[in-house]
Symmetry: D2
Subunit: 302 residues, 4 copies
């Protein structure tokens, strides 16, 4: 039967659940020193990057993830000039940051050079040449090591690293110690945002613990979510700042977008209202969280 | 290897995508005159009802779907007394309607008696005895036939029927003619809500066409969404009324909940804000829709 | 798409291989004190019994397995009167033994009463009422315990127990000690046969070790295979006797079948020639085997 | 969980059955003018070639298939000099033919140049350089067209083409007309062998019809089978000749192997005995077959 699909990628979210992606074509598949990398084309979502068996981003909807990750933090900070991206190997986080006209220096620190090299070749529609932008500097090293040695403050820091899987490369980038280090490197009006795991209730433990951990370190912490079709779930993010603050209103976000002449596909004031409004059951779950992730008490997901 | 899962249920959302549900135990599986019915227990979501190969509702999160479907319409209508539920075989829609103290008469019209009989037995945590509530009357017949012969108006009509799959039982319950019939049976302050398909962008065609179809018939139409973990997507609903109106504010919803002494798991003012705020890309997609579903121009999903 | 299959049973033969059985209907599924039992109907093979996630036998081709297991041993023994079946919960091994007119006493020892109770109800086409045959006695107990206490010799002993999976009920029914016990309970012309695992070369380790183990205990040992469609492989059996002997020729088997007036679906002289002729690569693999399974050195498969 | 497999290849043998191959790495995947070609590495079977979604041959056990296909015909023919291989894109059929010292001319006719080009690069352990052997000539064209124009007789013709799937390239290479053409091109002592489909009973229709069709054309026809682990089934072959003949005995095959100084992995006299002995149920099924495949009455498998 010629119409049957033969090549399937299975992304297990638990021992008893998985998503099946019918693959048109495998582009590349390799093991770096840190993780398993696979790039493949699907009919439904276009090209997909998988790291360690999990969807990282898909051509058809990576704009949702990357706009949600970048713009709330960038807009909340008045005229951000010096920006740090941690992880973000696809280059799409750079692409979104560079849309903000005030940016002068954009530094990206990623552990895994091989991933970036392949993304540069195979994910052009993600990075759109951002790796070669004159404002951009790349460092291939551990983010904590970089931050310990870099004393100049950043206006915005964006953490775009994979989820903390066992023995994965990002296990120590979700702890109290890490968030305290981030805090110490933010400028006076600095803002921090990060991808923060699945918010689907049966799998929210990681998101919820990350949120609770940041709350121990920073006074302003706002969890939010965006549904990403290729993830089959509402993905979690957190916006944080080392001072008391208020989330910009729907109106304020729209005003800032206009001021900076940003025309986006996903994010605007009404989108912000949807993302930052948390349903009652999830709010309760977040409020009741007691877990704190610590260098001595790490957390990993399935 | 004893920990491997052996029994899997595959819900195909397109020829190239599927969700795998690891099954602990199959409870019952049969073909009625209208559809394939399966009830099974899963580790992740508890008991699940599948109709024609698609998840209908899961024990662990059916409250999200049913609260989202019922309460916006019930709260928008002042003191609803006479309510009609179309479909809703699990009985959970009845359960939510009955929480509103003003309800005097609750009529449910479902095509498939066998589904209701089995749900009564196997889905007790869904209906909580609602089928036997003194205010409830059940009719097993075609909804359009019922409506054509029932001339007394309803304060709220809630359509909780399966998606329009080819040769499925609900194919004609998403057309202009059907919505006009609904309109003609609503009381002066009557409100209509319905489940309206997947809003995941690659699969939004059905939701978008239903929304556009109702807009041809009623002046007040508000599409909204709720993420349901067991569906792996943000599910779509539509709130509509046969007169010009405004959606209650977050504050107004909270006030009404308090007034009616409703304590819910999912729905409240902030949840409403999340549900009724539509991200920019989806708003654009809905605005650009031109398709109208008609008895002579039916639409079916994969 | 109504033609898609939704219910699939996955039988993993290794971490990187599995067979998918599309299920029409699950009949029953339960955990006994010893194993996970599932009975389900498939389009391709009719009803299937699964134990601990592995196909045990299928309605459409169980005759191959059971004829291959039973008749070589029964025919090799002149006029067998007293026969012991170990395991064989479906009752089809009994059914085949009872076809031999000389049988006077047929004892079956199975550990798991619950499996037999359910097979009696749901697998009628397997046992054909054999459990209630006047010559048959059932004992629900450990086979080794039974054999230690039963001193009267048997003309034929047939071992029809599941493969040795970790913590499975048959782990100790493939060891030197067990085979020595069997040997001691065989009559002067007694014959022993057993199901002996998958002979598919990548998975032959278990079959090969069992064969080698019996060779340490008995002088006559003949491994053989039969391809069973629902197993997707050539299944292994071993015929053995506690004395020097020759395998009956094709002609002799046909003569014996005629003498005992047996009309079978699968087994006859030419079938025997196919089963007992071992391809060169498998012969080499069996010859080179050194492993011996011992109570202190158990073997389990994936 | 790092040990989960993510990449699976599903080979559907019917709408309700499939085999899952865990893929380590996809090597290449492309559509030629005739078929979908995929080469991938598996843990269990090494490298595998898939055509149109079906396993063609696997590194770990292609020797079984190719020895079974080639040597019975080559040994039955006294000192074969001029040999034709139809299909056989992997080059392993050439490799086996070339082991026979009498061969002077070996012609291969394959429709799909692209497949051969890729096999030459990626399946070295299959062809072992045979494409470049001085005795070998390659033609990329339709086999029937070739045979119609080539009048010089062949001592052995071996057909190694994919199964007849709908709109597949080999649909017309299993018909009365084709077999009559083959017959007319065989030398006086010429022998013909072909791969002839799955012999697994639920899927034997194709094998059985091919066997019956050749019987209408040639007086000597012997169906045989070899279990190939990566196929999960006993694969069917047919040995035929345009004159009355007897199959060489086990002893004769061993003698011929010795004479030609052939040392093989799979095939020898005892293997031949296993392959050419047909179990009773399959014999009955073949005997009862009435279907004849004809250019006007083609047959295709799932």
């Amino acid at each position: 039967m010629p119409s049957e699909k033969h090549k399937w990628y299975l992304d297990h979210t638990s021992p008893g659940t998985a998503h099946m992606y019918g693959i048109e074509n495998y582009i590349i598949s390799f093991q770096t020193g840190y993780q398993q990398v696979e790039i493949a084309d699907t009919e439904m979502y276009g090209r997909i990057l998988f790291l360690d068996g999990k969807v990282q981003s898909a051509q058809s909807d990576e704009y949702i993830y990357h706009e949600a990750l970048v713009h709330p933090a960038m807009l909340m900070c008045p005229a951000p000039q010096r920006v740090l991206v941690i992880g973000g190997g696809e280059g799409a986080t750079l692409r979104e940051v560079l849309k903000h006209p005030s940016v002068e220096q954009l530094i990206m620190v990623d552990l895994d050079r091989e991933v970036v090299v392949k993304c540069r070749t195979y994910l052009e529609s993600w990075h759109k040449g951002s790796f070669d932008h004159e404002k951009v500097t790349l460092h291939f090293m551990d983010a904590r090591e970089y931050l310990e040695n870099e004393r100049d403050p950043f206006d915005v820091i964006i953490s775009d690293v994979p989820e903390p899987v066992e023995e994965g490369p990002a296990l120590k980038l979700f702890t109290t110690q890490y968030f305290a280090l981030i805090k110490s490197r933010l400028s006076k009006q600095g803002v921090f945002s990060l991808q923060a795991g699945d918010t689907c209730l049966p799998l929210i433990d990681s998101h919820s613990a990350i949120n609770n951990t940041i709350k121990k370190v920073m006074p302003f912490v706002k969890p939010y979510r965006a549904f990403v079709p290729s993830y089959n779930t509402e993905w979690g993010f957190i916006l944080a700042a080392p001072y008391k603050a208020e989330l910009p209103s729907e109106h304020a976000f729209n005003h800032l977008l206009q001021e900076r002449k940003l025309v986006l596909h996903y994010f605007d004031g009404e989108t912000a209202r949807a993302m930052f409004s948390v349903p009652k059951d999830m709010r309760r779950r977040l409020d009741e969280e007691t877990k704190i992730i610590d260098d001595d008490n790490l957390m990993s997901i399935y």
